[in-house]
Amino acid sequence: MFGIGKRDSTLLIIVAIMALFAPFILNPFPTGSAMAQFNAGYPDLMQRFVIFGIFAIGFNLLFGLTGYLSFGHAAFLGIGSYAVVWMYKLLDYNVIPGLFLAVIVSAIFALAIGFISLRRSGIYFSILTLAFAQMMFAISYSDLIGRFLGTTITNGETGLQVYTSDPQILIDDWESVPHLLGIVEMRSTYTLDAGAWSFDFNAGYYFCAVILLIMFYLAIRIFRSPFGMMLRAVKSNQQRMNYTGLNTRPYTLAAFVISGMYAGLAGGLLASMDPLAGAERMQWTASGEVVLMTILGGAGTLIGPVLGAGFIKYFENIFAKINDNVLHSWFAILPDGMEDFMVTIVHPFVGKGWNLTLGLLFMLVVIFLPGGLVEGGQRIGRVFRRRDRNAGSVEADAAKQRNPAAE
């Protein structure tokens, strides 16, 4: 189906179903119940799941396939956001022209940055991309280009936003927030109350989800294409590639640009949901975040980056909500001394301590589970399947699992 294999179609369909029913799946607990804090089915968070999913899928096309570790991908995320907000300012609140511009501009920047950075590989490449991104952060944060030209480009630390004095040459009276071709506003949400439950269906989320599915589908195509195979060859042995008559540079550059375009699109979507763009989106911590997502989920696998993005964004949100009161209610069944002790132990890791948990988790994954969550799932799966398989097929299976992208 769609020119992709059966297993890939199944995967795509599963992702599509998950995305479609996300408002239900992510809200399993009745509103107002004690467990409601674990619900994640509200528009803002669901939008972030899919947008960062797109970002991570794109990052994985570069890192997962070629092994080139970019530490500056957030630069493209920021560029995408700025592009969209500029289209709001110049034309109107329709998101489509902005998204096109976001992809084009980030492709141009990725071409320039990639052209220079890819002259080196390994650690040099990582540092070069990091330097470029930090430079662009500094430029945006102080709006250096704008100041140089005597105008406003990024609006410095305030961030770029729409003002009533902006030209907005296509604006109509009814427009006040981002919308899709005038059909629907991104913020419009339909709430379905079913008994104790309540589910939010948000237009912006579904718009992003459709784009995620398209981008996921394209990623599958790239993984299964001769081009994708060449990218994996780059990771495996550049020397052999050169002596097989293949020019590695354009392959890596194309991967870099494609992955920059994914990032630009994700950044554009962020600004499509909330019409703001700020320099902090370009900071290297944001670049680090997408690295974490991809590795945590499973670099080089199709679904890994999406899982990683969802995992990090979900727990970031949930952990932030857990305070000492919540902890006390959890450990209430324990004797008093034990309860206080447990709360003291857990306290540093929750609430504002989420980054600590994330850092530890990330280290554990890199040390013990280099294949990320996907590999973890496969290991568990293998334990269950081993009994009713003969040794030969387990071996073949293991070979496949070492490199799931190879199938």
Binding site: L69, Y124, I127, A131, F132, M135, I139, W284, G353, L360
Partner: protein, 342 residues
């Protein structure tokens, strides 16, 4: 002219910090072949050693003075630091005043220990893994370390003053025969002198001790040295401890210049990497040279005359220089052939 001189002086202290961090990074990279993204966190830990020592020395007994009232009408609390009650008020307050230099004594064993444990417990297992994995795991460690500090010390910068003897500035103008004033804070002068001392000590250690000779030989050709029957790994783990101590000391002394906060390490790390790359991966003199060069360049770029032509150039000059150098001299200023190349 004097403005330029002043900027060069201003660049020295930042340059010193870059040079010290870059020196440690290069030592670790050269000896162990590991790219340590947690090195900035070591610098930050050093700065917090200074904070810790200052806090410890300021621990006080609280007595209530019923004769005096605070503005809410409660008895006034009188804090007497323990050191003052132990050594007498004068010696005690002197000790507290000198907490930052004293912190050096505290930081050296602590940082050596942290470095050694880090290498034995974590880094050791990553020698044979790809550079990307090393970057990732040390990156994770950097996050963990800074979050731990944030948990204990909060997110706000903690002012850590230098001894009062060093408050104020030294005027270079009379020395150079200039009419205008060229004031330069004493502590920054101290920092520069201290850094030069440390850099000199590291080089002397590598140059004149047997230990250093083996390490240098190992940096050039690890396998051969291993074949000679020298336990190079053990020396390298000690080297990691030393690199950590160098970063830590840079941090201790930097505390009065910029109040330490939990993310200062990362801010310096990014620039220090650029410094290492510009200096040439694996070259110790290159790291020092590039550190000072970029520090001074950054400072010069913040001259008003320069900023009038190119606004904000001071914030990106280091990156621009790095990119230009990498494109024209891919190995950096003093990089050796074959380091990090396929």
């Amino acid at each position: 002219m004097d403005a330029i001189l002043l900027q060069i002086l201003n660049g020295l202290d930042k340059g010193s910090a870059y040079a010290l961090i870059a020196l440690g990074l290069t030592l670790i990279f050269g000896t162990l072949g590991v790219v340590n993204f947690a090195h900035g966190a070591l610098f930050m830990l050093g700065a917090f050693c200074a904070v810790t020592v200052q806090k410890l020395l300021s621990l006080s007994t609280i007595t209530l003075d019923e004769t005096q009232k605070d503005f809410l009408g409660r008895p006034l609390e009188i804090k007497t630091p323990y050191v003052e009650s132990w050594f007498g008020p004068e010696t005690g307050s002197l000790i507290i005043d000198w907490s930052v230099p004293l912190a050096i004594l505290f930081a050296i064993p602590v940082m050596l220990f942290i470095g050694y444990v880090m290498e034995r417990g974590l880094i050791k297992h990553f020698y044979k893994r790809p550079h990307a994995d090393q970057i990732l795991v040390t990156f994770g460690l950097a996050i963990v370390l800074q979050e731990i500090i944030k948990y204990f010390y909060g997110a706000n910068p903690i002012p850590t003053p230098a001894p009062s003897a060093f408050v104020g500035s030294f005027d270079f103008a009379p020395l150079l025969g200039l009419d205008t004033s060229l004031a330069y804070p004493y502590w920054r002068l101290v920092y520069f002198g201290f850094s030069t001392l440390i850099i000199g000590a590291v080089f002397a250690f590598l140059q004149f001790t047997t230990f250093g000779m083996v390490v240098r030989a190992g940096m050039a050709d690890r396998e051969t040295v291993g074949l000679l029957g020298i336990d190079i790994d053990k020396r390298f783990s000690i080297m990691f401890g030393i690199a950590a101590a160098v970063a830590g000391l840079a941090g201790v002394m930097y505390a009065p210049i910029n109040s330490p906060n939990y993310h200062m390490g990362m801010d310096f790390l990014v620039l220090s990497f650029v410094v290492v790359v510009v200096g040439g991966m694996g070259s110790l003199p290159g790291a020092v040279l590039a550190g000072f060069m970029l520090g001074i360049l950054e400072s010069l770029a913040s001259l008003n005359e320069v900023k009038a032509v190119l606004p904000g150039i001071d914030q990106i000059i280091i990156y621009v220089v790095a990119i230009v150098i990498l494109l024209t001299r891919p190995r950096g200023l003093m990089g050796r052939k074959g380091v990090m190349e396929e």
